[in-house]
Symmetry: C2
Subunit: 195 residues, 2 copies
């Protein structure tokens, strides 16, 4: 079951996407602590070092998983962003908060590692800059506003998930309300910036 009889040279039918899909599944089951190169290899029924044929190292794998989480965040259309930029920002940040809550273990890494720097995260960043532009912010002040919103979201997501996957039914209502409240305060500050 754990390691079949397969000699060197005999394929196991693995590819990069399969490895990543199984990594995500394993992450959901056992958390980041349980997601080791060796446990992932066991699940795929290959030797641990086989993974290095498909992935550079563990940190690359984690980075890819981080970006995938953000795929659950709906991207508003340019028209919608133009018509209601503040609402678009509010929805994006709330959806991001919810997406992050589904993967408590990963959250701290968004703040630590360059984290949200994969293609999906970059796309979200572009849309945010677009929305801020419609509010009247550009350049460094827009970047500052974006940082503020991102930190608020990731910070509260991390705060909501203390202790990883053991701390009760995920978003204690109070913390979720705090995130929404802080978001409003920040958006008020950001829009007031231009007046």
């Amino acid at each position: 079951m754990t390691s079949s009889t397969r000699g060197p040279g005999q394929r196991a039918g693995l590819d990069r996407t399969r490895v990543l899909a199984e990594a995500r599944a394993l992450l959901d089951e056992v958390g980041l602590v349980g997601l080791t190169m060796r446990s992932l290899a066991a699940r795929l029924d290959v030797a641990p070092n086989t993974l290095y044929s498909h992935i550079r190292d563990k940190s690359e794998m984690v980075d890819l998983l981080l970006d995938e989480v953000l795929a659950d965040v709906p991207v508003p259309t340019p028209g919608r962003v133009r018509r209601d930029p503040v609402g678009a920002l509010r929805r994006m940040m709330t959806a991001s908060y919810d997406a992050l809550l589904h993967h408590p273990d990963l959250v701290p890494h968004y703040l630590t590692r360059q984290g949200a720097r994969g293609p999906i995260a970059r796309r979200l960043g572009e849309v945010m800059m677009d929305a801020l532009g419609h509010i009247g912010l550009t350049g460094t002040s827009a970047e500052k506003a974006m940082r503020v919103l991102i930190v608020n979201t990731i910070g509260f997501a991390a705060f909501s998930t203390e202790g990883g996957r053991d701390a009760g039914p995920l978003p204690t209502r109070e913390v979720r309300a705090s995130h929404a409240h802080a978001l409003d305060w920040l958006l008020a500050g950001i829009t007031g910036e231009t007046g």
Copy 2:
């Protein structure tokens, strides 16, 4: 040098405070990644398992270090808090931000673990609640405001120190400015809460 010739039963003159002091020194030198039970034992010139005579496990040690970092935050006097509660909050959060920046590796743990729950952190929390009370907030709304301010500070500290101890001369000016700006927006929202 690394391991002297000492038989079982022969004391090394260790105690809990000495262990913690040396752990903090080692942390400053090599970062959290380099702070292992074995490296700390080597520095103290004892066997690795000796540490368990003075500390329950590694997580307890990290928790104690987390709390120690906050000792650098000046606690305002009750009179000062009464006279200028908003200013007191601003100074406390800014000082906390700066203190956290001195220990980049530790920052994510303040959001992840119950983190800031040691005696020093609890004392700071009490003073914050006192200040919020003078502004006019009590109960759950005061707790919400406190959460918002704490998340903002820790979040930006984490954001300031991407990649731990390798990312340039610590606070990129822009991020530090963002923290100050967000702090003002949040304090404005908090004080507006009561009007």
